[in-house]
Point group: C2
Chain length 80, copies 2
């Protein structure tokens, strides 16, 4: 599992799996705090045992350096 480019290369997305709901929720909070810290906010979807994160730069409707910085920081979270 790694970051995947969306069809038109305007977003990156990665899926994560977890042993239960609470671990997914904890991960989502860590991503949320990173996002606030960077002032750069992804879309996060999650449920029991899974989460997905989609990142893009709204202003340009595509990908910018900050998107990859956020992705790299998410990859270093302890749950990943």
């Amino acid at each position: 599992d790694d970051w995947q480019l969306s069809e038109n290369a305007s977003r990156i997305r990665r899926e994560f799996t977890f042993p239960d709901f609470n671990t997914a929720l904890t991960f989502v909070n860590h991503v949320g705090h990173l996002a606030e810290e960077m002032g750069h906010h992804p879309e996060i979807c999650f449920g029991w045992g899974y989460a997905s994160v989609e990142i893009w730069t709204h202003k340009i409707g595509g990908l910018h350096e900050n998107d990859f910085v956020l992705a790299a920081r998410i990859d270093r979270l302890p749950e990943v």
Copy 2:
């Protein structure tokens, strides 16, 4: 904005808007805690200023009383 039935009536879904990312994240945590308390887990998607919650009963691939109980409890959260 209220709960909407999905096309084949197997899920209910509601969209919520918020003034910023952190308020959406706080709402998501409240929904998460309700879900853990009920042992019934929706799918939640959110980003800056918005969240959506989709509820269904995995075991039957459709809707059951508990789905509507969770929806009603989400409707009573302070942010909504």
